[in-house]
């Protein structure tokens, strides 16, 4: 096991260095001088320009600059936003709970529906239910989610008026951030209707963000179940006369879950990519919207820092999934 862990880390480190290199290079390959961009349309004097060149260290050798950048990153220093002048690190972690809350809800939605759907489809292989379910899953998988969001807004917000169109909570309510999770904070605040308002704001973004993971999980669960159901030990269990519910639930599902858990872990990247579109459409104040806004505002330190933090987060999650997978499945370790 130790060897497996070490080998995973041995591939993690170079990738991490590479990711920092890419985000370091980002500001330098942009067309135009970053200092001029920062100055905006007002421009600046030559002295101020020279001062800033020294301040940002652009006069030093590129390797020294990279070293400064890397040591800064490791200490949580990603520079300051051009627009708000606040540290990128602080902004990221102030907005991150919003994205995390939405992603967790989307994942719960996807697993809660996708897992049973996949199991039921596998048990009714080739029947009407299976075919309907899998066609629906394929439609979900092919869905342009930005359009799906607009459709849901038309129906549920426009025609039925059930759900709000944007934001995390009605403006009526105000309370301090305790955890950053609106659902928990609104409960703690104890204000009437705050929690329901938060839930109503969450519903549509959750469905939109969860749709593709839902389809993927349903398809993956079905095929994993089908594979396991063909194994010898299932036949043995049947021959022993165990009730089908026990076979499917205990023997088959447990082993079918392994690839499904991997898929769930690996869809973190998908969720973050989906969050970019979902948050933009629903004006959800999270990382995705922050990145898109920063790209349009040409707030390059934010784009650079956000890119790095998101990539590192995806890498850490993938590493964890790999390690867990090695823990569950001894075959993987022996590669």
């Amino acid at each position: 096991m130790l060897r497996y862990v070490l080998s995973r880390f041995a591939t993690f480190l170079p990738t991490f260095i590479g990711v920092t290199l890419i985000s370091f290079a980002f500001i330098r390959v942009l067309p135009g001088d970053p200092i001029i961009v920062m100055a905006g349309e007002r421009g600046m004097t030559q002295e101020r320009y020279d001062e800033l060149v020294v301040q940002f260290g652009f006069d030093r050798p590129i390797l020294a600059q990279y070293w400064d950048y890397l040591t800064g990153v490791l200490q949580g220093d990603l520079g300051n936003s051009y627009v708000t002048k606040r540290p990128v690190w602080d902004e990221f972690f102030a907005l991150f709970p919003a994205t995390l809350e939405l992603s967790i809800c989307a994942m719960i939605f996807a697993v809660a529906l996708g897992l049973p759907a996949g199991v039921i489809a596998a048990m009714n292989r080739g029947k009407f239910f299976d075919r309907t379910l899998m066609s629906t899953a394929l439609v979900g998988y092919s869905m342009p989610i930005f359009w799906w969001a607009l459709l849901l807004i038309i129906v549920f917000s426009g025609n039925l008026g059930w759900t709000p169109v944007s934001g995390r909570i009605d403006l009526l309510y105000y309370f301090d951030d305790v955890t950053g999770f609106m659902l928990i904070d609104s409960l703690i605040s104890g204000q009437d209707g705050a929690f329901t308002s938060a839930v109503r704001h969450l519903i549509l973004p959750t469905i939109v963000l969860g749709t593709i993971p839902l389809a993927v999980i349903a398809r993956q669960t079905r095929s994993a179940m089908l594979e396991v159901l063909g194994e010898d030990y299932i036949r043995t269990a049947r021959a022993k006369g165990l009730p089908p519910g026990r076979i499917n639930g205990l023997h088959a599902l447990r082993n079918a879950l392994i690839p499904v858990i991997t898929v769930i872990g690996l869809s973190v990247g998908t969720l973050l990519a989906g969050a970019i579109l979902t948050e933009t459409i629903f004006s959800w104040p999270g990382i995705g919207k922050w990145m898109v806004d920063s790209i349009f505002r040409r707030d390059y330190p934010v784009v650079q820092g956000g890119l790095l933090l998101i990539a590192v987060m995806v890498m850490v999650v993938n590493l964890t999934v790999d390690l867990l997978y090695g823990l569950i499945n001894p075959k993987i370790r022996k590669r």
Partner: protein, 302 residues
């Protein structure tokens, strides 16, 4: 004599089903895949002939006919069968022309990503361990970024346009081909036919492209179908965010972005471009599933 010989050859050919007909035999089993295939054929036809079959120029503005609903609704007009957008442009013509952009995006992205990915994958599979490790770590780095985010940032660097969006999407999709090719190359390298080719004196290039590559193609073809649809979706998403094709290009994602503020007033300007994306992507994914079933020898009941 000569005639008789060619006739004999012909009958022989008839007796043994060709690879294509064998493939079609398995592909036909999957009804969804066949359906997807025909929808895709229609899509390609529209993409090829859009300027001639579209009733109007996709960028021509009929200002007095702005936001006309589809013909079957009250207030509709049969000269604009699917209605008009806020600037009075014919929806049907824009949708038909949009097929060209999506098809173009799909083809270019798949060709660029696949050819680059196959080359790198072959190289990684055949090369010494250190080079293999370098190539694969590079691909890991690209895969660490969520694809849409990386594409978005690349487009921000290169400047928003459809061409740059295609380049960005191709870069983002390429690692999948590298991994897939490398994995199947390594799987094939240990087999007897490769050894025998080597013993017979086949050079490195011949081994790579003539001996091994054709046997690795099945999963790559499936991946090509799947990334065709991913490319269309991502290009539309970039267009929707304002980072892909720029107005007045009738690209489906860009059309959606332009129509956003009218969602509660004019359902057709929002619903139809998205429906076009969904149908196209769905058809290609159906086809991809069928391809996988037909090309995967494990599932064949021979």
């Amino acid at each position: 004599m000569d005639h008789a010989l060619s006739k004999e050859v012909e009958t022989q050919v008839e007796k043994r089903p060709g690879r294509l007909s064998e493939f079609w035999f398995y592909f036909r089993e999957n009804r969804g895949a066949v359906f997807g295939f025909w929808v895709f054929v229609v899509f390609v036809f529209i993409a090829a002939t859009a300027p001639w079959i579209a009733p109007h120029d996709p960028t021509q503005q009929f200002r007095e006919f702005a936001l006309i609903p589809p013909a079957w609704q009250e207030g509709g007009n049969w000269s604009f069968p699917l209605g008009t957008d806020p600037l009075g442009r014919d929806m049907l013509s824009r949708l038909l022309n949009g097929a060209r952009y999506s098809f173009f995006v799909g083809i270019v992205v798949v060709v660029v990503a696949a050819s680059g990915g196959i080359l790198l994958g072959l190289l990684a599979g055949f090369s010494p361990k250190w080079l293999d490790a370098i190539i694969m770590r590079l691909m890991d780095i690209i895969l660490a970024f969520p694809s849409l985010l990386l594409a978005l940032v690349l487009v921000a660097i290169l400047g928003p346009s459809l061409l740059n969006a295609m380049i960005a999407i191709a870069i983002v999709l390429q690692p999948h081909y590298v991994r897939l090719t490398r994995a199947s190359v390594i799987g094939e390298l240990g087999k007897d036919y490769v050894t025998s080719a080597r013993v017979a004196g086949a050079g490195l290039w011949r081994l790579m492209f003539v001996t091994v590559l054709p046997n690795c193609l099945a999963p790559i073809i499936v991946q090509a179908a799947l990334s065709f649809s991913t490319a269309i979706l991502d290009a539309a998403a970039l267009g929707f965010l304002g980072m892909g094709a720029q107005p007045p290009t009738p690209e489906w994602g860009t059309m959606l972005a332009e129509a956003r503020e009218f969602i509660l007033r004019a359902w057709w300007v929002v619903t139809l471009p998205g429906l076009a994306i969904l149908i196209t992507v769905l058809a290609i994914n159906l086809m991809g599933d069928g391809l996988r079933d037909a090309l995967d020898p494990k599932l064949k009941r021979s």
